[in-house]
Symmetry: C2
Subunit: 335 residues, 2 copies
C-alpha cells in the first residue's frame, strides 16, 4: 500500500482530529468524537441539517459542514454506516428548536441507523424528518427507484436543503425542497481502477487494465457491465444515454452539472469528460445553469468519475445560488 | 492507460475549452487560445497579476485565475513552459495601466520565456516586474536558493500578490509583498507513485512499491533519496526536518500550512499527514494561522504530497485574510 498512514485502524480518528484542527474556523467537535458540527450550530430558530455516512468519500460528508449547508455530520468507519447513536448525536448538535432534516443516502445500514435515531428523537418530542437520496441510476432499474443508492447527487440535496433552511424555511419546506432536489437528480459512475481500505490491505475489487466498469458504486459495488475502455466522448455519451432518459431531462430544461472524480483521476480528465457532456447536453437543448467539476465525492483513491445532473426550477435555482461556506463547497451569492 | 481522454495530443485544448465553459462566471477566453483571464480583467488602475506554466498541475495554474488573485494565465503543454508569446499575451490581457506583476516558478523554460515577454512589453513602455518562486528546498542546497524550483508555494505568492494588487497597491508594493511571500516560504514533496503523460503513454519515472521518493519535483524530477515507505508520522517528521531549519521557522512564528496532494493520494491521507505536521509545529512553538489541505497543486495522477510553510507578518496576514474567488482558492474575508 503506497499510503501515508500510521495505524490502519485509526485512519478515521486521525483524519477527523486533523480536520477539526485544520478548519477550526468552520467546524468544531461535539461530545461524540465521531460527530462534528458547524462552529455556530445549533442555530436558534433554524432547521438543523444533518447527514452522515461512511468515511473515505472526502470531501463528503464532513466537507459539507459549514455555513448555510450542513450543520452536523455523523462519521462512520471507512465505507461503513455510522451507528444510530451518532446520527442521534448529530441531530442533537444541530437542533436549533425548529426541527431537524436528516438528508442522507440510501444504504441499508444508514436506513436502519437513521430510523432508530429518529425514533429516539421523536420520543423526546424533537421534530425530525428525513430525505433519502437515491440518485444512482444504474443501481436499480426504472420503476424501482426506491432501491437506488445515493451518490454524488447527495451534495446537491445538502446544498438545496441547507440554503432553504438558511433562508428561514420551516421543516416541511426544507424537506420538500431537499426531496425535490433529489427527485430531480440523476447520477452514475464509471470506474477505472480500485481502491484499498488500509485495514484490508488489498483492493476490494478489481478492474483490469483496458477495461472500465459502467455504473460502479461508491464502495466498489458492481456496476451493470465491464467493457473495454473507451474515449472520453464515448464514456460521456454512455453516461448521458443512461441518465438523460431516466428523469427524463428534456430540451429547454435548466440543469446543474456535477462531475466528480472518484479519487485518483486527475482534474484534467474530469474537464475533458465535461467538454463532451456539455456538447451532448447542448445538442439536446438542455441548458447548463451551474457546473461543478472536481473531487466532490470520492472513494479513497478509486479511479473514475461520476456524472450528476439536476433539473432546476426557480426554487432550486435560488437555493443553488445561495451563498455557502464549507470545505467541499464554498460559493459567493450568485446573481 | 486508465484515462478519460480522447486524442492524447489534444488533452490541454479540450481541458481549457471545458474549463472556460464550466467556469464562465469567473474566467473568459482571450485572443490567444492558451491564455485565459479573469472575466473582469483587465481592471483599470489595478496592477495586473500574471502567471503561467505547464499544464497538468490543476488547479494550478488556471484554477487561481479569478477575483483578487491572478488576472491572466499562460497555459503551456503538459509539464512544458508556455512560449514567450503566451506570457506576453497574458500580460496584455491583465494590463489595467498600473503595471504587471508576473509571478511564476523557477524553471529554465519559464525563465527564458518570461524574460523574452518582459523585454517585448518594456519595449512598448509597459511597466512589468517579476517574482520567481523558488520554494522547493530539496531541489538545491542552502546557499543556492536561486537554483531552487517553484512548487506549491507559488499559490501563496499568487494569493498575496493578488490581494495586495486588489487593495490598490502600486507595482513595487505588489512585487515586494509577493517576493516577501516566497522568501518566507519553504516546500518539499514526497512521491509515492508516478504519473503518465497521455502522449507518452507510460510513466516518466518509477517509484517501486514499498518505497517513497524524498524531495521529488512536480514533474517527477528526482528527489534527494529513495527510501523505504514510512509511517505518516515519520514522513511528516522528515518534511519538517528539512523545511523548518532552512528558513528557519522558529518558536513564536505564525505560519500558513499548505498540504497538497500530488494527484492520486486521497484527502484522508493528506489530513493524516496534517495531523502529524501540526503536532510537530506545536512542539516547536510554531503557531498555525491558516491551513490548506487538499489538491492545490498536482502532477496529473502522481501519488504523494507536498508540505509548504509560509512565515507570516502583519502585511502577509492581511493578504491571506483577503477575500478571493477562484476555482482553486475561494475564501470569504477572514477576521
Amino acid at each position: 500500500m503506497q499510503k501515508f498512514i500510521n495505524d490502519p485502524s485509526k485512519v478515521v480518528d486521525e483524519m477527523l482530529s486533523a480536520y477539526l484542527l485544520a478548519h477550526a474556523d468552520l467546524v468544531s467537535e461535539t461530545e461524540n468524537e465521531r460527530v462534528i458540527k458547524y462552529i455556530n450550530a445549533p442555530i436558534e430558530g433554524k432547521v438543523g441539517i444533518v447527514t452522515g455516512g461512511g468515511s473515505g468519500h472526502k470531501p463528503a460528508f464532513i466537507g459539507y459542514v459549514g455555513r448555510n449547508i450542513v450543520d452536523a455530520v455523523a462519521c462512520g468507519e471507512l465505507f461503513s454506516s455510522p451507528p444510530a447513536q451518532m446520527f442521534y448525536d448529530a441531530a442533537k448538535a444541530a437542533d436549533g428548536g425548529k426541527g431537524i432534516a436528516i438528508l442522507y443516502g440510501n444504504y441499508a445500514g444508514d436506513n436502519m441507523n437513521v430510523a432508530m435515531a429518529i425514533e429516539e428523537l421523536e420520543d423526546e418530542g424533537i421534530l425530525v424528518k428525513k430525505v433519502v437520496a437515491n440518485d444512482d441510476v444504474p443501481s436499480a432499474p426504472k420503476g424501482e427507484e426506491a432501491r437506488r443508492r445515493g451518490v454524488a447527487g447527495e451534495i446537491l440535496m445538502w446544498k438545496v436543503g441547507g440554503a432553504k433552511a438558511a433562508m428561514g424555511a420551516n421543516l416541511d419546506e426544507v424537506i420538500s425542497a431537499a426531496q425535490k432536489a433529489i427527485n430531480n437528480t440523476r447520477s452514475m459512475g464509471v470506474g477505472l481502477s480500485p481502491c484499498t481500505i488500509p485495514e484490508v490491505g488489498h483492493p476490494n475489487f478489481l478492474i483490469p487494465d483496458g477495461k472500465m466498469e459502467i455504473g460502479i458504486g461508491h464502495h466498489g459495488e458492481p456496476g451493470i457491465e465491464v467493457v473495454d475502455l473507451e474515449t472520453a466522448a464515448q464514456v460521456a455519451q454512455r453516461m448521458c444515454d443512461i441518465i438523460i432518459p431516466d428523469l427524463p431531462f428534456e430540451s429547454g430544461d435548466e440543469v446543474v452539472v456535477l462531475i466528480s472524480g472518484l479519487g485518483s483521476t486527475p482534474a484534467m480528465e474530469l474537464y475533458i469528460l465535461y467538454n463532451d457532456v456539455q456538447r451532448i447536453l447542448k445538442e439536446k437543448g438542455i441548458n447548463i445553469y451551474i457546473s461543478y467539476v472536481g473531487n466532490y465525492f470520492t472513494s479513497l483513491e478509486m479511479g473514475g468519475a461520476t456524472l450528476t445532473l439536476m433539473k432546476l426550477d426557480e426554487e432550486l435555482k435560488a437555493c443553488m445560488d445561495y451563498e455557502c461556506d464549507s470545505v467541499g463547497m464554498r460559493q459567493f451569492q450568485r446573481i
